[in-house]
């Protein structure tokens, strides 16, 4: 049993559990699965700056902040107690490509050769961490949701605008990963 838990989980196990979060949140309190709105709640709570978009009672959405607090704790528990230290096996072509940019350390979930605090002030590190984060925060709110709100909750409720958003997420991702990121990584 313990061995089963410490092994990486297959996609269908993960997919089923994530899918079940949708009805769980609805049944626990009529909450619609979504995460990126938290970034807005944080703005509303900390820097509303008299901007109409942030002038609302964020405390009414505080369940959402508890939810991401749980995600943070879950990440901590999994990393420290459920054994996830083994380097992950990635596609040989990706491994070869990354090696040309000097990314050879495949341990952990995040490549430490790209995401490290002391790299924030290099051009590559700045684009990856500050630039990437900015695009995620700006884009998700402009789109009205992220992978959870649109791709999972929206599609589960058969909302076609969510399908449009999901397709655009994927187009943006394909363009970045294949056409732009190679240039950024070689900086």
């Amino acid at each position: 049993m313990i061995e089963t838990i410490t092994q990486p989980w297959p996609w269908y196990t993960a997919g089923i559990i994530i899918g079940l979060i949708v009805p769980t949140l609805l049944i626990l309190g009529n909450k619609h699965f979504g995460i990126s709105a938290n970034l807005r709640h944080m703005c509303a709570a900390c820097f509303p700056s008299n901007i109409p978009f942030f002038k609302y009672d964020w405390k009414k959405e505080s369940w959402n902040l508890f939810f991401i607090g749980g995600i943070f704790i879950g990440g901590f528990i999994a990393a420290h107690f459920l054994g996830s230290d083994a380097p992950i096996v990635i596609h040989p072509a990706l491994q070869k490509e990354l090696a040309t940019y000097g990314i050879t350390d495949l341990s952990g979930m995040v490549p430490t050769q790209l995401f490290a605090l002391h790299d924030v002030f290099t051009l590559r590190g700045f684009i990856m961490m500050v630039g990437g984060g900015f695009l995620v925060g700006f884009g998700t709110r402009y789109a009205g949701g992220c992978t959870s709100g649109h791709a999972i909750m929206g599609l589960s409720d058969l909302q076609w605008p969510s399908l449009v958003a999901t397709i655009c997420f994927m187009i943006g991702g394909f363009v970045m990963a294949n056409l732009i990121l190679p240039f950024i990584l070689s900086l």
């Binding site: 993960a14 994530i18 009529n30 939810f67 952990g108 925060g137 789109a143 009205g144 990121l181």
Partner: protein, 165 residues
């Protein structure tokens, strides 16, 4: 007058978001711990199924692995069946409240914003949920990414009226 103000607040909160929820019941704040518990399960799945792995996201966008497509696809199927059943049997919340769904209106933001988020997603290798799980696993540099994403949301809010919708 008070009702008027509350409606306005609801309208502001409803802008550009999927998850607006209005409950007529007022629970003590610690009732929110049930959502914390669900979040913990979600966070563990994120790590154990390598969904928060930057490498898995790169594979996804290079069509080198089925993993992420399998995860998202299965989640959507399970979610859709659940939503269908909730609607069909008019399932109520554990507090006896109605479960409500609001149809999403299309606007150009879903295209422009979607593309912008996609560009960011392939750089960070994480959408907003995984960012918090990554930070939980102890990668301190992710705090920079999260702060920058909050800044991105703030800048969107600041210039929202000037952007095409």
């Amino acid at each position: 007058m008070k009702t008027q103000k509350e409606e306005t607040d609801f309208e502001v909160r409803s802008l550009d978001t999927m998850c607006v929820n209005e409950s007529n019941l007022s629970h003590p704040w610690w009732y929110n711990f049930k959502y914390l518990a669900v979040g913990i399960v979600f966070g563990i799945v994120f790590v154990k199924a390598e969904i928060i792995s930057w490498f898995r996201i790169q594979e996804m966008f290079r069509l080198q692995s089925f993993h992420m497509y399998g995860v998202i696809g299965t989640a959507v199927v399970v979610g859709a069946i659940s939503v269908f059943l909730i609607k069909k049997f008019n399932v109520k919340t554990i507090h006896g409240e109605e479960i409500t769904f609001t149809n999403k209106k299309f606007n150009k933001g879903q295209i422009y914003g979607g593309l912008i988020f996609g560009l960011g997603w392939a750089i960070t290798g994480a959408c907003p949920g995984p960012l918090f799980a990554q930070l939980g696993t102890g990668v301190l540099a992710i705090s920079v990414v999260i702060l920058s994403s909050i800044a991105g949301t703030w800048v969107y809010g600041k210039f929202r009226d000037l952007l095409p919708h």
